[in-house]
């Protein structure tokens, strides 16, 4: 955390520097003009005119000393954060949380969410649409599908991950799996609420948008599940950080006996992760550097 604070303080000091020097220059120039007989107000105005556009010079100056946004990115340990195991679950939770916070019908969204995750009962929808509570959306089938995905994901963790690797990796995989399911549920509810709340000129357009969303949602959830598993398998089972410095190995013409592999190393020295098209394996640091 101290690196983040240090980066922010350095960046802020860089931004302050130009302002301080510019103010000093302006005051000195105005004082010089005052000595020539200008009134204080006229001197300040003339000094400002002589110095030119503050904004333009400020932009150039900040770029030169790294006080702009690119400079901030360079100062903050963003690469380290991108490898952190906290990033995927926190991003999913923050995204879903923001979608709920900024949702005008958030209370009904929470009730739908409870029903979707089988934790509560959804208010019944009436046959006449005006009598149906505002913000109520159908969640039964999608909730069922997401619960099935959750069970499949947990089964995969139990079968593929738990016996072979550390408990820590299994817990991480479970946490991210729950995060993906929660985010998908929030996405479904939020979009359907927005779709229903909007007044459409033609029902057909609304139907087409709904069908497109259903297909898009299905594809996105499928992709998210694939990314979840790839991410889990790529992480170091000891510290859960993503490895780096990828190095291709193998023979291009001998794909069956010695297939091409990409070796990545854990920056904390826990081991080596070798990935090929067919498999991924982790070699612990003790085997790489026997004592």
């Amino acid at each position: 955390m101290s690196d983040w604070v240090l980066g922010l303080v350095t960046w802020w000091n860089r931004r302050q520097r130009f302002t301080e020097e510019w103010t000093f220059h302006l005051e000195a120039a105005a004082a010089e003009l005052e000595m020539l007989g200008f009134t204080r107000r006229d001197a300040q105005r003339a000094a400002k005119r002589r110095l030119g556009s503050t904004l333009s010079y400020r932009r150039k100056s900040l770029r030169a000393i790294g006080g702009d946004f690119a400079g901030l990115l360079g100062l903050l340990p963003t690469k380290r954060a991108a490898r952190s195991p906290l990033l995927p679950p926190s991003m999913l939770l923050i995204g879903a949380g923001l979608a709920l916070v900024f949702n005008p019908a958030r209370l009904m969204a929470l009730k739908c969410l409870e029903a979707m995750l089988n934790l509560g009962v959804q208010p019944p929808s009436e046959r006449l649409i005006p009598l149906t509570p505002a913000g109520l959306v159908p969640v039964d089938f999608v909730g069922f599908a997401l619960r099935i995905l959750l069970v499949c994901g947990l089964a995969r963790i139990a079968l593929d991950l738990f016996p072979r690797t550390s408990l820590r990796l299994s817990v991480y995989a479970t946490a991210v799996l729950f995060g993906v399911t929660f985010a998908a549920a929030v996405c479904w509810i939020t979009f359907l609420q927005a779709l229903v709340a909007r007044s459409w000129a033609h029902d057909g357009v609304q139907g087409i948008v709904l069908i497109a969303f259903v297909f898009g949602f299905t594809g996105t959830v499928y992709k998210a599940m694939r990314l979840w598993w790839v991410d889990v398998e790529r992480r170091c089972p000891v510290c859960l950080r993503l490895p780096g410095m990828p190095e291709p190995r193998g023979k291009q013409h001998d794909v069956l006996v010695e297939p091409l592999e990409v070796e990545s190393i854990c920056f904390h020295g826990h081991g080596l992760i070798s990935e090929s098209r067919w498999s991924r394996r982790f070699t612990p640091g003790e085997q790489l550097f026997p004592q």
Binding site: R17, F18, E20, E21, W22, F24, H25, E27, A28, A29, A31, R50, L51, G52, S53, T54, S56, Y57, K60, S61, R63, A64, I65, G66
Partner: protein
């Protein structure tokens, strides 16, 4: 001096500002305002230096290691940032001075022949 013969005041050539600032800082450290005043005095008010562009130039030079800056009190007891030439800046000044002399000599030769 008649109006036709009076030389026009002109903006600095691209890249010449760095050379001039290095030359000004060679004699003694100074703050931004002092540098702009001394440049104006040395050129007898002929050069039209955009004062605002001085600071981006100074920061660039500091980033390259040609000058070093430190905060101290100015002559009127205000807090000001003074710029000082480094060894690398002195080398750069020598290099840019040689380049400038060579450039002006070549241009002069071409103009004489033309």
């Amino acid at each position: 001096m008649s109006k036709e013969k009076q030389p026009e005041k002109g903006p600095l050539l691209r890249g010449a500002l760095e050379l001039l600032v290095l030359r000004v800082l060679e004699s003694e450290p100074d703050h931004g305002f002092g540098i702009s005043r001394r440049l104006s005095d040395l050129s007898k008010d002929w050069l039209q230096l955009e004062e605002g562009s001085l600071y981006p130039c100074l920061y660039r030079m500091e980033e390259r290691g040609w000058v070093r800056s430190e905060v101290s009190a100015s002559h009127n007891n205000r807090r000001a940032r003074y710029y000082r030439l480094t060894d690398s800046g002195k080398d750069e000044l020598r290099r840019q001075t040689n380049n400038w002399r060579l450039f002006s000599e070549v241009v002069g030769t071409v103009l004489k022949r033309g």
